[in-house]
């Protein structure tokens, strides 16, 4: 019964994902008819503008949306499992705040070019993880709460530094760029960015799925983990490292996309009923569904305009969080 239900859910999530990908490939300001797309997929119309737009804009955009959704969803699932905290998200280690700071520094202090922004965001995102781990070690208390607190400290510090950058920024040119970057968008995605992003995301993603057994064991608590032969501190560092790598790479390309990593695991848990088995896979698929749906809205709501992605991800998030709130009141004590 459980197995059938899980299989059905996975199938439904996959099916929805495929449908969203297909629609995403067909939506855009450039007039591409379905028959043209069919022709292009078979290798026709080579070298002409429709084919170029399809391969350099549409496909990379959908692919990056897919990667971002899968990555953020999985990262959220891993964090909520390991930290046993329903509010845990990939931003727990301050990755999003750190990456925003890195990008803002590149915009204000550096050249503001795409490569500089991506490098700044990625580097700063990883640096925030290093800081969190250092703080935890300094606190000498290996508790999940310690990680959360350290993450809050690093996030706040990064936010304060970001505020300084905003004050220093030229309101005419740089401030708008910083603000728009912190809202997240897939508008400037190109094939070369996809080529850079794909290995940086696919590798940690696969490793995290490989390590799902360790993730589940860590969620049982440090003592239980040790008794089952797992060194909690090392494995936490590994899992955090992999997710931060993945999320920092994503954020450096798309900007900060809010809430996907927080909401996808909740939806997956509500549907599945437990945090085991195909839970992490479902988190990833749900994340991808959410993100692609948000991107479709961001592109098509206002013709010719690109609205920031985070507006729509938050729009999806609010009802889910309300459901979570009501669910707890009804006596659901799902997490330890």
């Amino acid at each position: 019964m459980k197995r059938e239900k899980s299989a059905m859910l996975m199938g439904a999530a996959c099916g929805l994902l495929l449908a969203l990908c297909a629609v995403s490939l067909c939506v855009g300001s450039f007039p591409l008819s379905l028959s043209q797309i069919g022709e292009i997929l078979q290798g026709g119309l080579a070298g002409e503008m429709p084919a170029r737009v399809f391969w350099t804009l549409r496909v990379p955009r959908t692919a990056v949306g897919l990667l971002a959704g899968l990555g953020l969803g999985l990262a959220g699932g891993v964090y909520q499992t390991v930290f046993r905290n329903p509010l845990a998200s990939p931003d727990l280690t301050g990755v999003a705040s750190g990456a925003s700071l890195g990008a803002a520094c590149a915009i204000v202090l550096g050249s503001g070019g795409t490569l500089a922004m991506m490098a700044g965001a990625f580097g700063a995102g990883l640096a925030s993880l290093v800081l969190v781990l250092a703080l935890v070690r300094a606190a000498r208390m290996e508790h999940t709460v310690t990680y959360v607190l350290a993450g809050v400290i690093v996030s706040s510090a990064a936010d304060a530094a970001l505020m300084t950058m905003k004050v220093l920024a030229d309101p005419e040119r740089e401030l708008a760029a910083i603000e728009f970057w912190t809202m997240g968008s897939l508008a400037a995605v190109t094939a070369s960015k996809l080529a850079m992003l794909a290995p940086a995301v696919a590798l940690p993603f696969s490793l995290l799925l490989l390590f799902r057994r360790q993730t589940a064991i860590l969620s049982l608590g440090d003592e239980t983990a040790r008794s089952l032969g797992l060194e909690p501190r090392r494995w936490r560092a590994v899992l955090l490292g992999l997710t931060t790598l993945m999320v920092a790479a994503l954020v450096s390309v798309t900007g900060v996309i809010a809430f996907v990593g927080l909401i996808a695991p909740h939806i997956a848990f509500r549907l599945l009923g437990r945090r085991a088995g195909p839970y992490l896979f479902l988190c990833a698929l749900t994340g991808a569904d959410l993100l692609l749906a948000a991107d479709l809205l961001a592109r098509s709501l206002s013709p010719g305009a690109e609205l920031p992605l985070s507006i729509f991800t938050v729009l999806f998030a609010v009802p889910v969080l309300i459901a979570l709130l009501c669910g707890r009141r009804e006596g659901g004590d799902e997490d330890a």
Binding site: A187, F205, L207
Partner: protein, 364 residues
């Protein structure tokens, strides 16, 4: 047992590696094929329209204001302009008929209706925060004129094979450089040069007209508040200098709009206060502000607003020279009267933009 686990792990790792490499390969192939494809249509276009270009011989190579190399086979015949200053530039250089797409909210710029109403019917593609690359690609332009603020989108366009000229007209020198670049890209360098010659001619003329005269202390307010002023390093600072005035905020450091307090303004004691053309407050607001009653400019009623019914003359636009001329006539009416200014403004728009300016707009 251990062997099976190890094999499973190794197999999964190999799968992950293959996935990553194939996705990367897909990305590379996509960009590779588009790059190979982009060179094909450009050369065929060059072969067919050789007769059309009269001024340019061979490929045009430019270095834009972001330091990028831009190459065009022949002068651009269709342009997309994402910025109101570059659209103004196309008007000033007489190539506005080549514009196939422009920036959003074009209907808020009065000069389009006056100089080239057809512009208002063209598709509007972006703002200074974001840009619709697919819509631009659909228009298949020869060149896209893009401000530095939209640098993120440059790669997307060049990967599609569309050349982009990035501009950054922050001050008079950069403005002139931009006009030269656009002139070269469109094969109208002569027109760009005559515009720049006009600037120098008028600058010299104003220097002569105001020579030996006392330079009044001028305070330039900001767009959102009159407690915000321009420093000497800014375009507006040099505008005041050119018009035979002295910037009341001359001692302030920095190169951006600076917030000040009422006290600082009173201490500066400017003799003239100028509001920018797009100010969100009015001359009345300044005159009625009780806290400014001690300022000489307010006492004598010498508070004026830069005319904005045509273009924003207080920013680096191609007709910005008229802002300097207007300011000269405001600061030194005995040397250069309002009537002379109106005639000069009409001459300018007639010669460079090709339309007859309604004198009423400037005298109202």
């Amino acid at each position: 047992m251990k062997n099976a686990k190890f094999l499973q792990r190794a197999g999964a790792f190999a799968l992950a590696l293959t996935m990553a490499l194939s996705l990367a390969g897909c990305g590379q192939a996509a960009s590779g094929s588009s790059q190979a494809a982009s060179s094909a249509p450009v050369s065929s276009a060059a072969a067919s329209s050789e007769a059309a270009s009269s001024q340019a011989q061979g490929p045009i190579q430019l270095t834009d204001q972001a330091g990028r190399q831009v190459e065009l086979e022949e002068p651009a015949q269709s342009l997309v302009s994402c910025y109101y200053i570059t659209t103004y530039a196309t008007l000033a250089l007489g190539v506005s008929d080549r514009v196939v797409g422009l920036e959003k909210k074009a209907e808020t710029r009065p000069v389009y209706q006056m100089a080239d109403p057809a512009l208002l019917k063209k598709p509007q593609l972006g703002t200074l925060k974001e840009f619709d690359v697919e819509a631009a690609a659909a228009l298949e332009p020869d060149l896209v004129l893009m401000p530095v603020k939209l640098m993120d989108y440059v790669d997307a366009l060049t990967e599609l094979g569309i050349p982009v000229l990035v501009v950054d007209p922050e001050d008079q020198d950069r403005l002139e450089e931009m006009l030269t670049l656009i002139g070269q890209a469109c094969g109208v360098e002569d027109r760009a040069q005559s515009l720049i010659d006009y600037y120098y001619e008028q600058e010299n003329r104003m220097a002569q007209l105001t020579e030996g005269q006392e330079r009044p202390l001028v305070y330039m307010g900001g767009n959102s508040s009159y407690l915000e002023t321009a420093t000497n390093a800014m375009y507006q600072g040099s505008l005041i200098q050119l018009a035979g005035g002295q910037n009341a905020a001359g001692e302030l450091e920095g190169d951006y709009w600076t917030e000040i307090s009422y006290e600082s303004l009173l201490a500066m004691a400017p003799e003239v206060i100028i509001l920018p053309s797009a100010a969100s407050y009015t001359v009345e607001d300044v005159l009625n502000d009780a806290q400014l009653a001690g300022v000489p400019a307010v006492e004598e009623g010498r508070v004026y607003q830069m005319p904005g019914q045509v273009e924003e003359w207080d920013s680096p636009v191609p007709s910005g020279i008229l802002g300097a001329l207007w300011l000269t006539s405001t600061l030194h009416p005995e040397s250069y009267s309002q009537e002379e200014f109106v005639v000069d403004a009409q001459d300018f728009y007639r010669e460079f933009y090709g339309f007859e300016l309604d004198a009423q707009l400037l005298t109202a």
